[in-house]
């Protein structure tokens, strides 16, 4: 990645934006899935990335975190390259990305959120277990600590992943479809936690696919369809016009 001049200059200021992306392009086999994306997310926002299937929503998050290689572009988090601030960043991957039949307990999975801070070789100890229990309590799963993870429902799995991210004690969170296939109780629990994170001054960026709930849940929105079609505060940005441009003619529900 290049050392983009403007991004570095912006990074030097005291209150650098949690997310600042310039000209980010990602291609799988020559086909661009994300094209020339510029993105700034202000501190303390609860932001949604919204767009049709195949719009590159997950790719945007993964490219920011360096999980997929970018063909071009610069990413700065709090004004720094990701490697330098990774301990301030929490990540919730898609629930379906792991094998839930893996022989491990709920508490173990939550403690994985602390592996980055623990460093090499050191094992989680009593204080880590205590902290993991607190995180489980926050997502309403404290009674499941000893449970084997294959015995969880989809919503419970999602809450465990969220607890693992809370255990990362990050300043900024990236979440890939945390509401996909969860029950109503879990959805309410998750949005409650996201809003509490925001109220604590954290920045949260969420891949979301439900247009109906978006304006209610989030205060910032990024409309994406390979290119970033619009990005800004929810009320000003979540307009029929912008949605029409993002989804093409395929959108019918709007009044």
């Amino acid at each position: 990645m290049t050392n983009g001049g403007t991004a570095t200059a912006a990074g030097a200021t005291a209150a650098a934006a949690p997310v600042s992306v310039r000209d980010l392009t990602v291609a799988y086999d020559e086909k661009p899935v994300l094209w020339d994306a510029d993105l700034d997310i202000p501190a303390g926002s609860l932001a949604a990335i919204i767009g049709p299937n195949g719009a590159g929503k997950s790719t945007l998050i993964k490219a920011i975190l360096g999980l997929v290689p970018a063909a071009a572009g610069t990413v700065r988090l709090f004004g720094e390259p990701y490697e330098r601030v990774r301990k301030s960043v929490g990540y919730v991957p898609q629930r379906g990305s792991v094998d839930w039949d893996f022989p491990t307990s709920v508490l173990d999975v939550v403690m994985m959120g602390m592996y980055g801070r623990l460093g090499w070789v050191r094992r989680p100890g009593k204080s880590e277990r205590e902290r993991a229990r607190e995180c489980l309590r926050e997502v309403g799963m404290e009674d499941f600590a000893a449970r084997q993870i294959s015995q969880l429902s989809g919503g419970q799995q999602q809450r465990v992943f969220l607890a693992r991210a809370l255990a990362q004690e990050a300043r900024m969170y990236f979440m890939d479809e945390p509401f996909a296939g969860v029950d109503a109780t879990t959805e309410r629990a998750i949005i409650g936690i996201l809003q509490r994170l925001r109220d604590d001054g954290k920045t949260v960026l969420v891949v979301h696919h439900d247009l109906q709930t978006a304006p209610e849940y989030f205060d910032w929105v990024v409309l994406l369809n390979v290119r970033i079609m619009a990005s800004g505060p929810m009320e000003a940005t979540f307009t029929p016009d912008n949605l029409q441009r993002t989804y093409g003619g395929k959108i019918a529900f709007l009044k």
Binding site: V98, P103, T104, D108
Partner: protein
Amino acid sequence: MNVLRDLFLDYTLRNIALGAAVLGLVSGVLGSFAVLRRQGLMGDALSHAALPGICLAYLLTGSKAPLVLMLGAAAAGWLGMVLILRIVRHTRIDPNSALGIVLTVFFGFGVVLLTVLQKRNDAGQAGLDKFLFGQAAAMTQEQVATMAVLGGAALLVVALLYKEFKLLAFDPEFARSLALPTRSLDLLLTSLLVVAVVIGLNTVGVVLMSAMLVAPGAAARQWTDSLSKMLALAGAFGAASGIAGAVLSVTAERIPTGPVIILCVTLIVIVSLLFGSARGLVWEWLRQARHRREMRAAMAAEGGTTP
């Protein structure tokens, strides 16, 4: 009873049993990770890939010292592993096909080399073909010591990096988001698998080795839902089959040790599949049968009209 006494006193039996136990312990622990990462076939490919390495090491050095042959096997196994990982990363060939390609090409080359060596009528080559199915009966104390040192080193690495390997196996993407060097960890864990293969050359040989990597882990998974317990149990299953195989093959006349060890571990797998406390099939069947009975009873009580 005599066999039990011999286990401690008889030089040959003690060597075979110790060597087989080391092999079982190491391959059980490392194989468990391969099983969990759905890379059971990786062990098969790596062990078959080791054969040309053994032949080339002998061709180049003219020596049959255990360390020389083991290094040759390790180099070839490692090369096979790197090839597989490269093919998967840079082409559209899927992992299973990549494993199949490397396995057959390397093994075929190894068999050609073996044949060439045999045709040369050179007395020194005699015995290289024992690496196909192993020849535990000829195991020396020196070999056992080499195996123990290599195996101990591999287990030490697993103990130190247990937490990292666990995360790599469960959620590699999250591991990468924590900036763990997942590619290097993957390479290291697979290299340890090569070490396990090398340890198994003398005892079970390249053809049967994959069973020693997959079977103990698969059996252990049936008894526990905890990774650390699974690793310990897999090591114990592997070591127990090693010792049992050694003892059985010595008691019965002229039965090769390697295949007997494989039969022992297979027996453990079958028992575990059926009766394993965490997910045994028998308990599952019983539960389903009871469930059906209860449903039928409830329906009969409710409707009265049974078909």
